[in-house]
Every structure is written in C-alpha cells, then in structure tokens.
Symmetry: C2
Subunit: 759 residues, 2 copies
C-alpha cells in the first residue's frame, strides 16, 4: 500500500457483495412494474434469406397477446455502437443474415403466451445462398450479405510503421506462421434483459437494461426510436457480467421500449441462454498470418501481420476491434517496423463483438506462440527473447505511444521465477511443461473524440457522502473502486460513501464500461469531484481555524492542520459549520475527466499516443497432459501484473482469476461450433467452459508502478490479463509434449491426434 493512503490500496470486499450473496441485489429481471407485459423475439431459422412477407394475424389473435412488431413497423434507422459502422436493424427489414437474426417481436401478458405466439407468425422467406467461412466470403462472387459492401469486407486497415521490407532484409531469419483463434462466447451469468416504461403524458421513456454503456444505449435508443435524447432515461441495475457482450444495443432494448411506447404498459424482455449464445455477440474467430524477422539473438526487427476476422452477420464494434488488434501489436515488445493488414469480413453466422481484450487475445495468441517458436528455432530462451524485446518506459515508440511506466520485463522475470522456469523448462518428464506469454493493454483510450467521465460528490450534513457517477459497474467492482477513491480524497471512511451509478437521468455522462478505462476515467472524475467538494469545505475551515488552506489535511473523518491534529475538527462538525454559514444543504463538487490527447480524433487514422497509460503483464503456466486421454490439466498459473498502483488489490486479483478461467476456456475448452450457420452447442452444458473443478493454483504478483495519470497511480487491470493466459498454456503444452499447436482450442482429440502423428 502506498504511503500516506488509508483506503486506496486496501483489500475491501465489493460494496454490493452483501446484497449479492444474500440474493437481494436487483438485476434487470428482478424488477417488477405494475401491469408489466413480457416480450419474446422471433428469430430467423435461415442463415440468409429475403423476407417476402410476414403474416402476424394469427399471433395477434392469440388470447393474451398485446402486440406484434416486425421490421416494417419500426423507423428506418440502423444502429451500431460505432457511428461509422451502423448496419443493423432492431428487427430485420428485408433480409435475415444469420440463423438467430431478429425477425419479429411479440408482447403478451406472460412470457409463455409470447413464446407460443412466436410460432403463429408466418414468415415467407426466399432463401439466399449463404457463406460461412470468411476466407470464402472475401472472394469475388461470394454471396453478398450487405448490399454495397465489396467482398463482404466491411472494414480494413492496411498500415505500415517503419520499413518492414528493409527490416526483413536485415534480419538473420524471417519466419511465417499461420494461426487460428476460435469463436468464444462471453457467457455472462446474467442473461441479457431489458425493462421499459413509457409515460404517455410527458413522452418520457425509461429503460432498465443489463448494459455496459447506459449513455451510448440512450443515444442508440434515441436514434432508432426517433425521440429526443432528453426523453430517454437509461438506468443500469446490477449487471451479472458483460465482458463486452453488453456493449451493444440489442433487439430486447429496442423492442421493450417500442412496445412500452405503443402499448402504454411496462414491457420486459429477458433472453434465454440459447439467445445469449446465438443472437448477441461472440469473440471474433480470426485467421492470422504472422511473419517476423529477427536477428540471431532473437531481437525482432520487423513483423508483418495479417488478420481475417470472421465478423458474422453484422459489424458491431468491427472498426474498433480491427484498430485495437493493429495498434496493440506495438506493445509490450519493441517492434520498430510493422505492417498490419487486417479486415472484418461478413459471414452468415452469429455476430462478433467486443470481448474482454477486444481483438487482441487472438493477435496475442499468434504473436506469443510464434515468439516461442522463433525462440526454439533460434536457440534462445523464451524468457530471454521476451526480456530482450521488451518495451521500456520513456523509450521512443514507433507508433507514437508514450509509455510513462512499464513493468513488463520485471513481470517476465518474476513470473518465470515463480513458475520455476530455470528448473522446469525443458526439464520436466513427458506430459509436464511450463510456458509463458506477455501482454499489454491500454487504460482506456485517448483518441476517441470527446469521451469524458463526470462525477458529482455531495457532502450531506448527516456525514453521508453521495457520489453520482455515470460509470457502469457490471460486476467488476467499479463502484467500490470509485468509492475508495472518494473516501481517500475526503479522508472519510468507506462506509460513509453512498454511490449511485449509471442512471442517465441523474448521474453525469460517462462512456461506460469498455476499453478498461473505468478506473482511470471515472476514478479520476470522482477524485476531481471529491477534491472540488473538499476544497469548498477547506476554504471555509482554513478561515475558521486561521490556518493556511494548503496546510489542511482530511483523514479518518477529521480535518486538521498538518502536523497539529489538535488544531482541527471532525469532518461532520466542519460540514455542519459550513452549512450553517452557507446553505443548509449538501456541498456539491463536480469533476470531469477525459484522457489527454493532442489529436482527439486520431483513431483509425493517425499514429499518436493511443492511451493515457498502459498496463503490462506476464502469465506463466504449468500444465500436465494426460497422454492417454489427451486432457490438459492446468496445474498453476502465475500472473505478474503491472496495473500501476492497485486501488483495491483484492479486486485486481478477482480480475486475474477471471482471466485465468477465460484463458483456459480459450486455450482448451471453448468453441462456438457452427454447422451451416447453425450453432450446435448453445447451452452451458454443451458449450463446456471451465468450472471450479478445473481451477488451477493461481499466484498473483503485483509489479507496482506509479502511473502519473491514473488516480493514485492506478492503471487498468481488467482486460490486459485476458491476453496472455491462452498462449502461456499452449506454450506450456509445447514444453510438455513437443507439439506446436496453431489453432484453438486444443481439445483432447487434437492432442491425441498430434501425439499419434508424432509417433
């Protein structure tokens, strides 16, 4: 814990943990409104088809049905999280583009009747040729999924930093390898849900939604419903996980609002698990070719990276995802020359979207795998090659990143040490092995135009501190972190803080939970608001105590002159005194924060400092491969992580643990299997992510740095850790059985096949 801090840096449980473990926390589906109706969505049974006609008359006649809506009924407004990539209707207008596409919606007095009515909707389809492989979809003559999108390629980046041709020419060796990372579902425990209420008198729409981005959702609803943004209020109840899957607006949001407006009753939609799997978002499958030129000692001179992302039927965050997978090839290693050629390709399959790491886990798998392979080919130790190529703080950067703090090479050393690298690598019996991989991630992004976080801190006479924040806690603990920051800044106790977060009707603007920016953005905003409120109080108290403003400190619910604790008063006495002198109502402090950026609109266009700061980490795995069954058991995972100065080390460890599970899933278990456009395993049982039974020993090592931009020195801790567990595991499997796997997941079948082939 940092010197002089009392609350920031402490291991406190999440503020809402009590209500959650008691089962009393309110998620969207827990909300009940008088006269509430229930909605269900009819989904396309075909991967690609034109809608010739929809007959809803039989459904409308079913007793208990209150409304049926199709694409014909709604405004002609496409939506999407990225303004330049809007390509989706809440309900299909003319075409369906994947099995599971939203076709029509029913609203009824109970969910069962709504479900029954779906079967009474008669849709006349003209089936079209479909394409399921992005490598086919990109070819001339492939079925056109979106009119006017050439080669089904909705977004592409071709970018060169430095001079790769010269780098390759100067290299001692150039290696080219191909990789594939599969479709992975976020599988949040809470399914997607929305509840809408409309006030017919004032035209006020309120939507409670399981969302990561209340303010963006407000904008999307306003656009697609064609009502002013000021008349839309989005409230985020408790959210049971998102991992990026709840960044988009979905049919459930739009349709709940649509029916609420048109029927004048509250309307709730809750997705079934099957719908979460098929009709929300997944991590993009990606076909990757990496060509890397190195010197004999393993120094990387240049890299060429090609990625074909299988986007499924719609864009979602496509441009962002491609840009991220491009730019973040530039850390944690010093890559002086890079060509990135990446594209997002439509197929008639479920839609890819943001998922923890957002385009980078796939790239990082390829790069970290190839790095091990190159190390092997050049006779360099995988640890050494990583340290040798590590980026360092203050170093000039070929993409223009400004690295203020960097604990990467230390993280490699400490992770290796802790996993027993020296004793174990290449020295364990057949079937046992160790491996590692590194990663880095931005703490939010600088160059997205005018995305600011705001916070209001109210100091009440009763001693309660009310924090209004637009940040969206989706289970990661954002509200706890923000509260710790405010408590620290005010010198009060954490239990004095009451936080209201993410109600667009009350809380100030915040972009939401994505890009690992919440702690930095919303944390800094809350800190500024707390300072503003505190300074109002300090000015008053300084005069009262006849002290210098600059000498006052607030600590343990007291305000006093530094070094003279007897010269002061309690925080609540100060508040009371202030409020008798000013107004008998809360002191209000406002704070707003935006990442500094000289060029605030450079995303996708220019180089520059992409993020206010960058986290770094190394994960090291030890595995055991059962040579009879092909099963891989992850014995231990060490994470050495530089997230600056952790606000709450326990929550950081929660993130690390979650990332290990995610990485195991990506490496060993998870895969959304699609046959002719049909998802074959859309259930927890069939999908089979890791459970408690598979959990390894986990060791967390904090590589502490003191970031000058993050609040109290903090950097992101949520997504970076998700990048390296999968390659670390696959690298360890190589150490265990000597097989280089290039495609994920490495299932027992693949391992047995590889062992067989090796014989």
């Amino acid at each position: 814990m940092k010197k002089g801090l009392n609350i920031v840096g402490t291991r406190v449980p999440m503020l809402d943990a009590g209500l959650k473990v008691k089962g009393a926390a309110q998620f969207t589906d827990d909300l009940v409104l008088p006269g509430m109706l229930f909605g269900k969505i009819l989904r396309s049974p075909l991967p690609h088809a034109r809608i010739l006609n929809i007959d809803t008359s039989r459904a409308e006649k079913l007793p208990g049905v209150r409304g049926v809506a199709t694409g014909r009924d709604i405004p002609d407004r496409q939506y999407g999280i990225v303004p330049m990539a809007k390509d989706e209707y809440a309900l299909a207008k003319d075409k369906v583009r994947y099995i599971g596409d939203d076709v029509a919606a029913v609203c009824a007095i109970d969910p069962e009747i709504a479900e029954e009515a779906l079967e009474l909707i008669d849709v006349d389809y003209e089936e079209l040729a479909a394409v399921f492989d992005p490598r086919e979809a990109i070819k001339e003559g492939a079925p056109v999924i979106h009119e006017g999108v050439k080669n089904n390629t909705s977004f592409a980046i071709n970018k060169e930093f430095g001079d790769v041709a010269r780098a390759f020419a100067e290299s001692d060796a150039v290696f080219e390898d191909r990789f594939y990372s599969q479709a992975v579902n976020h599988a949040p425990l809470e399914p997607h849900a929305a509840l809408a209420q409309f006030d017919p008198l004032n035209g006020d729409l309120t939507l409670w939604s399981s969302t990561q981005i209340p303010f963006f959702l407000r904008r999307n609803l306003s656009n697609t419903l064609q009502i002013p943004e000021s008349k839309v209020r989005v409230i985020k109840p408790k959210v049971g996980g998102g991992f990026g899957q709840k960044i988009d607006m979905f049919a459930k949001d739009f349709c709940a609002a649509w029916f609420a407006i048109h029927l004048g009753k509250p309307v709730k939609f809750v997705y079934e698990r099957e719908e979460v799997f098929i009709s929300t978002r997944q991590r993009h499958p990606m076909y990757i070719t990496v060509k890397t030129g190195v010197k004999k000692d393993g120094t990387i001179l240049g890299q060429q990276f090609q990625a074909h992302a299988d986007g499924g039927a719609y864009n979602s965050t496509a441009p962002t995802m491609i840009a991220l997978s491009c730019f973040f090839l530039m850390i944690p290693y010093h890559i002086p020359n890079l060509i990135y050629e990446g594209c997002h390709i439509y197929t008639n399959k479920p839609v890819g979207g943001a998922m923890r790491g957002h385009g980078i886990p796939q790239a990082r798998f390829a790069v970290e795998r190839q790095l091990d392979m190159i190390a092997g080919r050049m006779g360099v130790d995988p640890v050494e090659i990583r340290i040798k190529n590590s980026i360092h703080a203050g170093q000039p950067h070929s993409a223009g990143f400004v690295i203020n703090t960097c604990g990467f090479s230390e993280s490699v050393t400490r992770a290796a040490e802790s996993i027993g690298w020296q004793e174990k690598r290449g020295k364990l019996p057949l079937g046992r092995g160790v491996g590692l991989a590194g990663a880095s991630f931005p703490s939010g992004v600088s160059n997205m135009s005018h995305i600011s976080s705001g916070a209001v801190v109210q100091l009440g006479r009763d001693g309660a501190v009310n924090v209004l924040s637009g940040a969206a806690d989706i289970g990661q603990g954002a509200e706890t972190v923000i509260s710790q920051i405010v408590a620290e800044e005010l010198g009060v106790s954490l239990e004095d803080i009451r936080i209201t977060a993410a109600d667009t009707g009350i809380t100030p603007l915040d972009p939401g939970t994505f890009g690992s920016g919440v702690t930095v953005r919303a944390g800094n905003a809350a800190r500024l608001a707390a300072m503003s409120a505190r300074n109002k109080l300090f000015e008053f108290i300084a005069e009262k105590l006849e002290a210098n403003l600059a000498d006052l400190v607030a600590e343990n619910r007291n305000i006093f002159v530094k070094g003279s604790p007897e010269k002061g008063m309690t925080f609540s006495a100060a508040l009371k005194a202030y409020q008798y002198a000013d107004l008998p109502m809360p002191i209000v402090g406002r704070g707003s924060w935006m990442a500094p950026a000289s060029e605030p609109t450079t995303l996708f266009k220019e180089d520059g400092n992409f993020a206010p700061s960058y986290s770094f980490m190394t994960q090291a795995a030890e595995v055991e491969v059962d040579l009879q069954t092909g099963r891989v058991k992850l014995l231990k995972m060490v994470t050495a992580h530089d997230c600056g100065t952790p606000i709450n080390p326990m929550l950081v460890e929660g993130q690390l643990e979650g990332s290990v599970v995610g990485g195991m899933g990506q490496a060993l278990y998870e895969n959304v299997i699609v046959e002719k456009g049909q998802v074959m395993n859309p259930s927890f049982l069939d999908y089979g992510f890791p459970t408690f039974m598979e959990m390894p020993e986990i060791e967390a090592i904090e590589v502490e740095t003191d970031d000058p931009i993050g609040p109290f020195g903090a950097k992101e801790a949520g997504e970076g850790t998700q990048l390296s567990p999968a390659p670390a595991i696959v690298n360890a499997v190589y150490d265990a059985i000597g097989v280089d796997f290039m495609e994920l997941p490495i299932t027992p079948e693949k391992i047995l096949d590889a062992l067989e082939a090796k014989k």
Copy 2:
C-alpha cells in the same frame, strides 16, 4: 395568468397523471424485491392492559415464519413527530393503550402465513381500567394512561391576547355556545405500506415508505433503530394520498426495517384497511366552548375559546395541533382580545393526529357556526358580520401576524354573490337553504426551528433539466408545481423537466408535506436553484454575446437580449457552448429556502409572525334537506379562494374539490364510531364517506393576490379550503330548516329528531 409568465399559471395536468391512469405508477406495495418477506402486526384486543408475558414460540415454529418481534426485542426508544411529545414505541413495551395498539410483529414468506402466525402468539394481559371520554379522562382519579401525565393531559395551552375581561365588559352582548366535532378518518386510497432492505456489508438501510415526511422518517428510524442517520435512506414512491395521516412513523416502518436488518432479507408491510382506520391516525374529536363578546353591529370585541381534544392513546402531533388551533383563531377575523384554553387529553382510543387543517377544522366549525348564530341573535346578516370583522392586509395584528396580502372580504362578497345570497338567504322554501363560512391558513410556518427546503437543478447537455427536490408529492401535485416553477425560471418547456423527489439518499433536505408549506418552501428552493443554474449560464452567454447580464432573458427554450430576440441562441446551444468551455457535465444550481423569521423557535412560546403568508377563503353552500328522510343533499358549493397567484389553477381546483368532499364528510357523513374502545365501522362500506353520487356542483372563484414571499406570488391552497365547507353546510342547513346543529356529523337521524323536536 400573470403577465410575462409562460408556464406558471397554466392549467397543466399532473406530470405523473399518465402513469397513474395507466396503472403503471409504482406505489410502495407495487415494489418487489428478490427474496422479499412479508410482515403483519399483532394488535391489542384490549383498550388498556399491562403485558405480563408474550409467548411467541408457537408462532416461530409455523413453517414459513422467519421472525417474530415484540417490544422486548427492540431498543428502548420512544418516537414521535414532535420531539417534546415522544410517547410511543414501535411495539408496545409494557402496556397497551387502545384496541389496535401494536403488540408484536411477524415476518414470513407470504402475508397469509404471517397472518396465521399472529394467532399463534400468546399474550398474557392484565386488563386495566380504561377511559374513553376526554371529559372523564381529565378528572382526578381517572385511569392513568401514561405514567406521570397528570389528568391524562399531555399538552395544554392557556394563552391570552389583549384583555378579554375588558372586551366582554365593553360588549353589547356576550354569547357562550358549546360544540363538538367528531373523529374523522383520512381514508387515503393507498393504505400505509413500507418495504425495507438492509445491506449487511455496509450497514445501509433503505426504506421505501408511503410517507409524507421522508427526512423526518429517516430521523425517527435512526433514533429508534439506533443506527446513524447517514446509514438510513428513505425513498418515497408514489403516494396515494396522506392528508396528514402519513406524517408519523408507524410500526410498519420500524418493523420492516427491523426485520430487514435482523433477517437480511427485504421485508414488506402493507396495512389492511381496518388497520388504517384503527391503528394509524384520525382527526381529533374536540369538545369546544366559545364565548364571544360583540357590539350591536356585530363587531367582535373578544373571544374565549376552550377546547378539549380527545387525543386517543398517544400524542402524535399533539402540541402542534393544539398550537395551531389556538393561533389560527386569530384569522381571518380581527379578534383583538382572545383567551385560548386548549388541551390534549389521552383516552384509550385510536390516536389523533395531523389531518388536513390540523386542529383548525374543529375550531373553525365552532367559530363559524357561532358567528352565524350571533348574526341571527343580533339581527345582522352573516355576510355582513364576516366582512365587518375581516382582517386586512397591513393591519396591525394582536398576535403579531404580518398579513402581506389578504383577499378575505372579497372572498366573502364573491362567494355570497355566486351562491345567490341576496335572493336566497332566508327566502327559500322549507328544506332549502344557503350558508357560508370563512377561513384562513398559513402557507407553511415560520417559527419551527431550522426547517429548510433544498433543491438542486442540473442542466444537462441534452437539454434535459433534472430537478432534485426533497419535497414529498403525495398526490397533490407538488412535483408538477415545482417543475412549472423551474421551467418558468429557466425559460424552457415543462416537458424538459425531469424531477426526482424525495429520496433522502440523493435529494436535499426538505421537511416534507405538512402545514401547507410545500409550494412556498420547496417551490422557492427550486426557484432559487433554477436561478443559480441559469445565472451561471447567463454569465457565460453575456460575455459571448457581448451583452449585459441583466439584459438577458430565457424564454421558450431561447436565451436572448431583452427586446432583441435575434441576438441570442437556443437554450441547448447555450448549454453545449458552456459545457465545452467549462466541464462537459451538467451545470448544477443549488437552492435552499426557509421561511423568514426573526425568532425561529417561537412556536408554543411567543407571539410573532407565525407564517410567511396566509391564504384566505370563503365557502358558500346551498343544500336541500329531505324532510321525510332527514337526508341533506349538497346542491352547490362555491369556493372563493385567495391562494395568492396560483402556479397551476387546475391543481388548485383539485384541492378545492377534495376539500368539498372532506367538508361534506365532516358535516354530514363521517364518524369513527367507538364503543368501549372498539371501532365499530373500520371499513369503507361501514364508514361511508361521500362518493361521486353525492358530489355537488362546484364553483371555484380565484381571488388573486400577489404574495411577496411565495414563488411567483403563490400561497397555500391545500388545507385552508378544508376549514370552511363543513360550517358552510351546517349554516345552510340552519337556513333550510331553522335548526342550529352544534355537533357533527348531522346525520339523517339527528335531523329527523330535530325536526320532530321543533314540532
């Protein structure tokens, strides 16, 4: 409508009318929390008894029961709305004092099981002698209901203004008459309810309650539960009427919180209608003697007023009620000399409390009735005697009231004119008659210590105006009135306003809904907050437009230089410009208002200006008495009302209409009948208040004045109107059949008896 105003003064429906008529508004009982439990209260079957033992073991064993609580379990803290008069436990400690007193509470998985469990609680009582008539209870030797309270008289005022003895000596005639006003129940459509949730980790208690006074309730809960005020959050959902009955904390509030804390589950209590009748509050029955000295021409020289209020088993608002009934004898007539002798007497009956008019309807009935009788005896016209004795603005006042504006004598004239006084009074056939009565009421009170209202106005970039107010809209339309004031002050449209009212966790302090002060207190606070926010914007815009700050006006969503509408910009453009220059978050304006008072703690002690302003009104009734059945039909009621400048005339009329129903009930129908302490008619059917079938023609006449203190010249409109309908009706009955009724209600039986006696 006042010149220059666009929104204040318009007839707009209540902002929440849409949701209410759609059935979608959320009252406390509509709220559902996961895992919610349900509570019921065991009530005393005896009017007065000592509790020897309570055995809860059988109840605890009933499957589904989660907890049972008795007075032994809870902290030894009495509560009450008036600090000096706390005499009540949430659950009885040693004694029960009326049939219906709170004895124990059960919490179970459904309300039926909780109800069933009540029957399994064995209470061992030692019955005590009870007393039901305050005239008996006040005697030496009567049963002692509260230890240490002599003669069961918990509060008394004996006060003289001027010199009554001399006034009587100088009078041409002195009349003494006795009156009785009965027990009346508020009968709000929504029964009393509370839902509590406790966060075991943070110790945060949240209570949703059907209450008029969220902040006082917070204080009472904090005191009785012995947890800090900062850990209690009270949220007021929609409230379906209160009329004063929801000013107190009740067992349902305490017990919901208590069980939530101890069981770790949300707990809901909803009272049955029978409980609302018996175990909440009612208007105090009052025995009144009025002695008045007049000159020949009807000029009042002095008055002696004695009141014995039957308080039932507890104090509730006793001191306030007695003080109000005393002080408001001093308006609307000029009473130069007055002796007031009033006391609050305990009996073993249901508890009296605040009810619309709060102690004054009973007094006003007596005074207005006697005034008619005196007029008759002296041969003066009832209209003339009222005008002659009317108070006037600016007139010196014997109790120290400062009357800034007064439309009383005009209200008498206009009400009389409209009912057809000249043509009808004394001239209608037997069985038909007209009558009138006057009244006045304070717009809030000045001399209650440090009761301030606060408001926060946030101007968002999307053009939405968020108002945070602590005011408690209980159906009267406070939120609409406040929103109109804010919209007017900002020059925006009413639909741009979004109001969040009465959540002690978010909204600033407000005393709540009582004393008819909401429009004045919370309205002024909101106006100041709006002005503060607007001025921040104006300062910026003035510089931008190179205009004088003082020349800027905001109107119709535009800000421009007065007289030069072309030199300006839209409100939302101004906001955007400001927020780019300052912080990209809402502008926050704060406002706080407290009635001016030189001596802020004079209640019950000194003379002085009791209220910031005073409303005045006259009601005139025309009735038809069925000589066969004794039934009185109210044909028409005219109300001429000076509520200053109405913010929303439609809502004022709603208040007038409600007051007519209340007055008819008091005069003709309603009476809580108690036999040996047992309420005999605790249901809507048996109690029999007026319905739509009995509604007369109602005419509303605005006597507009421009109050210098109320927002935009407004004065109260909620309670004053409730004072005079009953005496107006009874005075009209006198005109119809020549009988002077002195006791309420005048039922058909009484009328037939009187007609019989007259024969």
